[in-house]
Point group: none
Chain length 244, copies 2
DNA sequence: TATGTTGCTATGTTTGTACATATAAACCAG
DNA sequence: CTGGTTTATATGTACAAACATAGCAACATA
């Protein structure tokens, strides 16, 4: 991505500015709290008007990627994933949007017989093996989440897929399966031996546990996913407005 | 709510316009698909500039309450409730909906100085005491959640209220404060001494921790609530549909 | 010392203006 | 009647210019 604005391009300036900001704030300096240049200067640097620049900034503020404070300035709003885009971005994408690169610590594919619960969810017989994907993921420093996914056989996965790409992107592009609806259950749990080992914490210490039931466009079940997040490493946010 | 714009009010015109639009589009005519007046006319009617009006409309478009189409116009984006509208039940109501009667094990009102975080959220000075409400609640067998709530002084609570009624009902009926927007953060935590004591679990064992920021109709902060749920006793469910 | 006061600087709000673009509908030529 | 062209109308993009407001800091006063 080019880090400058092309006034002749067909793509609107405020979109260009937005993208450019998204790149810019990945800089560790900004990630660690440095203020962005003030609006007037930044507009001058980019050679666009303050209004246009603000359009771009506003979008990111709305996404809670940036925080503005009068007289203080604008900086990246660190942690805390927002439910706005979340839910419908994969883990990788969400982290990337924040400039946090994701590392796969382990990635393991196996074929297993579904237990009753899973067979029931997928509405399949239990005598047919399905693909199980286990992933231990985190940032550069540490692994902080352990995922276990099961996929519906209908999708036709072979196990040779490129699981380094964002999962839903891969499924969409290579297997024409589009995730459309997700039902999630979030609770707290004590880590068992296995999870504790993976996340390098003591058995019995807390993890955030998320079950995710994912459906495709036809509302057919496509994935069953279990996520174990190291406590404090992951905050689930929900915003809801009364409708009555 | 008055359906006109007050240019002398302290509240920004685009906010007034936004609220006004929210009211306006409740009209069954608009709900059933009628186009809003075009921007130029509407701006003229409200006696604000088109740009300001657009600020308001943009917000609603971003919230997916309105849809715009070039040359066609702007109308309400009908149904499609995502997780936005869900989750709007109080704890008591939630439980009652499941047929679980709720018991208050402890109920304690006190007046405290807000810490920096709370003062900042409420946008008040830290030298004024605010009401703190602690409640230990559960079913007939055991207490499984410990709540701590702080209320904005604007509400004018005295401490003599009847906290046995559902909280939001009491606030609405007796204090004319209507909860309208809630932002929640859910994570897993290890119970400290205090929480462990209340919930009768071992210190260090997992609890589901929920922060809740509640806003009234004017999007003004009204309550800050911390909830500690005994692990396994509470599962948070979220359903979200892709909108793109 | 404590307390105003004032000014600086950042974001926040608002207006006026202009041109671009998408598209439905009216129009016109073959 | 058919197919292209124009026009009217809506949103979309962009700029410039003010003034408002919040908060910090430096200075001045009691």
């Amino acid at each position: 991505m080019k880090l400058s604005i092309d006034h002749k391009s067909a793509v609107p300036l405020h979109i260009q500015a937005e993208n450019l900001l998204r790149e810019l704030i990945k800089d560790p300096e900004y990630q660690s709290g440095k203020l962005l240049p003030n609006e007037v200067d930044l507009a001058k640097i980019l050679a666009i008007s303050r209004t246009t620049l603000r359009q771009a900034i506003n979008k990111l503020v709305y996404e809670e990627l940036l925080i503005r404070k009068k007289r203080l300035g604008t900086k990246v709003a660190h942690p805390k994933m927002s439910s706005k885009s979340m839910n419908w971005l994969s883990f990788t994408q969400e982290m990337q949007a924040r400039g946090i690169p994701i590392k796969n610590y382990e990635l393991h594919v196996s074929w297993v017989y579904p237990d009753e619960f899973i067979a029931n969810f997928f509405d399949i017989k239990a005598d047919k093996k399905i693909m199980k994907l286990e992933r231990l993921r985190g940032n550069a420093e540490e692994a902080f989440v352990y995922f276990v996914s099961y996929f519906h056989p209908r999708i036709g996965l072979t196990g040779d897929e490129d699981f380094k790409k964002p999962l839903y992107e891969m499924l969409e592009v290579d297997h024409s399966v589009v995730a459309n609806l997700s039902k999630e259950e979030i609770s707290a749990k004590a880590a068992d031996k296995l999870i504790a080992g993976k996340l390098e914490i003591d058995p019995g210490s807390p993890v955030l546990f998320r079950k995710r039931f994912v459906f495709d466009q036809g509302d057919r079940p496509m994935e069953y996913n279990l996520g174990y997040y190291k406590a404090e490493s992951f905050i689930y946010t929900v915003e809801s407005r009364r409708t009555s």
